[in-house]
């Protein structure tokens, strides 16, 4: 009984909240008429999946849409399955896809015929960060110690763990090798959580985990962050481990390791959708960004909270594609064109 009454009272609160939200924002011409699908081109439990599911929770908790939101994982072929699904759903205004860097890397590495230009850009929700982590037992306290240690050893001695193959983690590794001038062994794992645990267990020497994947081990004193691959330092100043905050981690470039990388967490829709539908979702995402749950997710994962829509977003994506093409070519990761 108490559960029912709880749900009822919660529903009532939510309705009031929704009514308030509706009155605050000018009504758009387009409204969803059936459930909205969010495609995740990755497995359950990863960063994109967590973000999509958090948004699903936020939207239903605050009743931001009249129709329910459904999250569907299509991870086959390094996410190619999900992108193809959206590309082929021409004109479907109830389908969105959340991206990670595989938007660029998967078509390049596998030759799967899909490109961001085949889809409609909606919005950049955030940029995900990459941090260079080492085991806290290891003697290297700074980037310089770490780089010197690699240089002191022959090629293929240091082991770098990362998520997937020919994707963002390996791209950073290749760039890092180039900056240091020594080859490393790259060991791909299925997920970022597994990479962090392999590092804690000393089975690898370093990782470029996203903040959220490694923060628990940092707080427990098992891992040490050396530098962040964003061009600027992270904004979050709350103490995480000891008296260190995310803001205290130097950028890799300032620490003498000239490698920069951030990962897009953004949304696309199928081709041929109306402008009204796109602006409906842009408004929806703006509302999502105002909720405390979203702010908490951003702080937990130390995300870069850049938000872009329209031409600005499309321009950013086009530049990111060019950057990836350069990196992938240089690393020899491009699929042979038939």
């Amino acid at each position: 009984m108490s559960v029912t009454s709880k749900i009822l009272s919660f529903g009532a609160v939510a309705c009031v909240g929704a009514a308030f939200a509706m009155s605050a924002v000018p009504a758009t011409a387009w409204e969803p008429s059936h459930p909205i699908e969010i495609i995740v081109p990755a497995g359950t439990g990863g960063g994109a999946d967590q973000m999509a599911r958090t948004m699903q929770g936020i939207i239903s908790k605050h009743s931001l849409t009249k129709q329910p939101v459904v999250v569907i994982n299509k991870s086959g072929g390094a996410g190619g399955e999900g992108f193809l699904d959206v590309k082929n759903a021409k004109g479907n205004e109830h389908k969105l896809i959340i991206t990670l860097s595989n938007l660029f890397t998967t078509p390049m590495a596998t030759g799967i015929p899909v490109n961001w230009k085949d889809m409609t850009p909606v919005a950049m929700m955030a940029l995900d960060e990459f941090v260079l982590w080492v085991n806290a037992e290891k003697p290297y306290k700074t980037v310089k110690d770490y780089v010197d240690a690699i240089k002191a050893q022959p090629d293929n001695t240091f082991k770098m763990g990362g998520t997937g193959s020919k994707q963002e983690d390996q791209i950073i590794t290749v760039a890092l090798q180039k900056a240091v001038g020594k080859k490393m062994i790259y060991i791909p794992q299925k997920g970022g959580g597994a990479v962090a645990v392999q590092l804690v267990g000393n089975h690898i020497d370093s990782s470029v985990n996203n903040p959220i994947e490694a923060v628990a081990h940092w707080r427990a004193g098992k891992l040490r962050p050396l530098c962040v691959f964003d061009p600027k330092k992270l904004d979050y100043k709350d103490k995480i481990a000891g008296d260190m905050s995310w803001n205290d981690i130097p950028t890799c470039k300032s620490a003498g390791l000239d490698v920069e990388y951030v990962m897009l967490r953004g949304f696309f829709m199928p081709p041929g959708v109306s402008k009204d539908a796109v602006s409906y979702y842009v408004d929806l995402f703006k509302k999502v960004r105002e909720t405390p749950e979203w702010k908490k997710l951003m702080a937990d994962g130390a995300f870069n909270q850049s938000f872009m829509v329209g031409d600005e977003y499309a321009k950013w994506v086009a530049e990111a594609e060019k950057l990836h093409e350069g990196l992938m070519k240089e690393a020899g990761f491009m699929a042979k064109t038939n």
Binding site: V3, T44, G77, L84, Q167, G193, A220, A335
Partner: protein
């Protein structure tokens, strides 16, 4: 230690609140339904229901979600035994003896044994978690790629050579399984393999689709050929069968204990429940006096895999909480849930969120007890399903299989694949090719390959990495012993025969 017990008691107090008890029963029932529908599975079930829990307190939410998990674990056994359709990878081994038992009219017995064993396995693992949680977490850290591969190696070795079919057919079926498992993206190089340019093959052959087809559809085709009737329609349908089976079960305490230990160990090492169930079944068959009877409806063949799978499934939650690495897809979704509720899985969770952690552990105890009661009272009901005429039940099974296959990836192509696998399964059975080795290869093949290649990457190609420390050497040696066990056993029996021949002379 005493502080922990105090925390646990506090956890029980939280769990026993009427609201939470109600959530628990709701969770179990939903979980059983999810488990019964093949393909829907615990991971999808939890994912669908996750948003419902955002308005609850984290403790209530995890109680409900973990009960869905338990319910799905229990439910997976039902279809395995009644229809030869395993709903989850770790239920495959349960079909080997569970389904023959159902065909002999002993469905009630098989279900009771399966549910009770699941309960025993899970309970054993929870007690272990309660007592040695911190130790266990640090043990899990010792598993690098080589160690993980050695565990898969042991799982394969303890299973090879089990089937009655000629070794050549076993190997052929297993190789076919490896080939099917290799389709899709190669995790190590990021290249597509064996897709021949077909976009539908990008995601490879999901284990569940293969199994639903090979076992479920294949079985229906066979039954149709044999005259459209279930052989198990004489199933007894009263609760006495539960009591009768319970009287018999204590005999197998040694088997249960061994299966519990195998399960816990596999659950903590990141290999998980599926190899645990296969390994436990394989070892039970080798050691049991009635081993020759396995596969023909032997109750020990139900007890061994179910106990181990559930001990492993439960023990696998520990690395998830303590290290943040999910041991199964369901655990991965639960992990996402934890983050949304603002809880950070990791070494500090046990220190910072004591109420949550001990509430969860208490809910594991209670959830299993409530689950056992719920499913046991339904045993006659489940067994009675077999009394429904085949012409009515077969279309229903077909529809459920199709829904299940579709749900795995939301892909209609998978439904077609399921039917193809059904026909393949039918012909393999007709030609006496064993299905189990093929399924084992599809489920574990790509994971074993991945850890094998990770190890060799790390060692720069040297196989010495598999004997580089005490842990990995021990597991590899155990694997080799298991592989050559038939030869060793023959050696032992020859010695025995020789001694036996000597004895009458005395």
């Amino acid at each position: 230690m005493f502080e922990d017990i105090g925390n646990l008691m506090h956890g029980f107090a939280v769990v026993l609140q009427p609201q939470n008890l109600l959530l628990m029963v709701v969770g179990i029932v939903l979980g059983v339904i999810v488990g019964v529908l093949p393909g829907l599975g615990g991971a999808n079930g939890v994912a669908i229901l996750l948003p419902l829990t955002f308005s609850m307190s984290p403790t209530s939410a995890i109680i409900m979600l973990s009960c869905i998990y338990w319910g799905a674990l229990f439910g997976g056994a039902i279809t395995s035994i009644l229809f030869n359709i395993p709903g989850e990878p770790w239920s495959v081994a349960t079909t080997f003896d569970g389904y023959p038992m159902a065909q002999q009219g002993r469905a009630g017995e098989a279900l009771t044994a399966a549910f009770t064993s699941s309960f025993v396995g899970a309970l054993f693992a929870v007690i272990m978690i309660t007592l040695v949680a911190p130790l266990v977490a640090s043990f899990a850290l010792r598993f690098g790629p080589a160690e993980i591969f050695s565990v898969y190696f042991l799982a394969f070795c303890s299973f090879v050579g089990l089937s009655k079919e000629p070794p050549f057919k076993t190997i052929a079926a297993m190789m076919l399984g490896f080939a099917l498992g290799a389709v899709g993206l190669d995790q190590m190089t990021g290249q597509l393999r064996l897709t021949f340019g077909f976009e539908s093959l990008l995601s490879g052959f999901d284990f569940l689709i293969a199994v639903i087809g090979l076992f479920g559809i294949g079985e229906i085709l066979l039954t149709m050929e044999e005259g459209l009737s279930f052989r198990g329609k004489a199933a007894k349908i009263n609760l006495k069968v539960v009591i009768q089976t319970w009287k018999e079960l204590p005999k197998y305490w040694m088997l249960s204990l061994r299966s519990c230990l195998i399960g816990c160990w596999m659950g903590i090492s990141p290999a998980g429940a599926t190899p645990a169930s296969f390994m436990s079944y394989g070892i039970a068959k080798r050691i049991s006096k009635r081993g020759h009877n396995f596969g023909k409806g032997e109750i020990e063949g139900v007890v061994a895999p179910e106990t181990a799978a559930h001990a492993a499934g439960t023990a696998a939650l520990l690395p998830m909480l303590a290290l943040g690495v999910p041991g199964s897809p369901t655990a991965a979704v639960l992990l996402g849930g934890l983050l949304i509720w603002g809880l950070q899985p990791g070494p500090l969770l046990f220190v910072e969120q004591t109420e949550f952690v001990w509430g969860l552990i208490a809910s594991m105890y209670m959830g299993n007890i409530v689950g056992l009661i719920v499913v046991l009272t339904c045993v006659p009901l489940f067994a009675a399903i077999l009394r429904i005429p085949f012409s009515v039940i077969a279309p229903i099974i077909l529809v459920l299989c199709a829904i299940g296959a579709y749900t795995v990836h939301n892909n209609t192509f998978d439904v077609v694949m399921m039917l193809v696998f059904g026909v393949v399964g039918y012909f393999m059975k007709k030609a006496n090719y064993p299905l189990a080795p093929m399924v084992l290869a599809i489920v574990l093949g790509d994971k074993a390959e991945e850890s094998f290649r990770q190890s060799l990457l790390g060692s720069q190609g040297s196989l010495g990495v598999f004997f580089s420390n005490a842990l990995v050497s021990t597991v590899m040696t155990l694997g080799l012993i298991a592989l050559f066990w038939p030869i060793i056993q023959e050696g032992i029996s020859r010695v025995r025969v020789a001694m036996g021949a000597a004895r009458p002379a005395q």
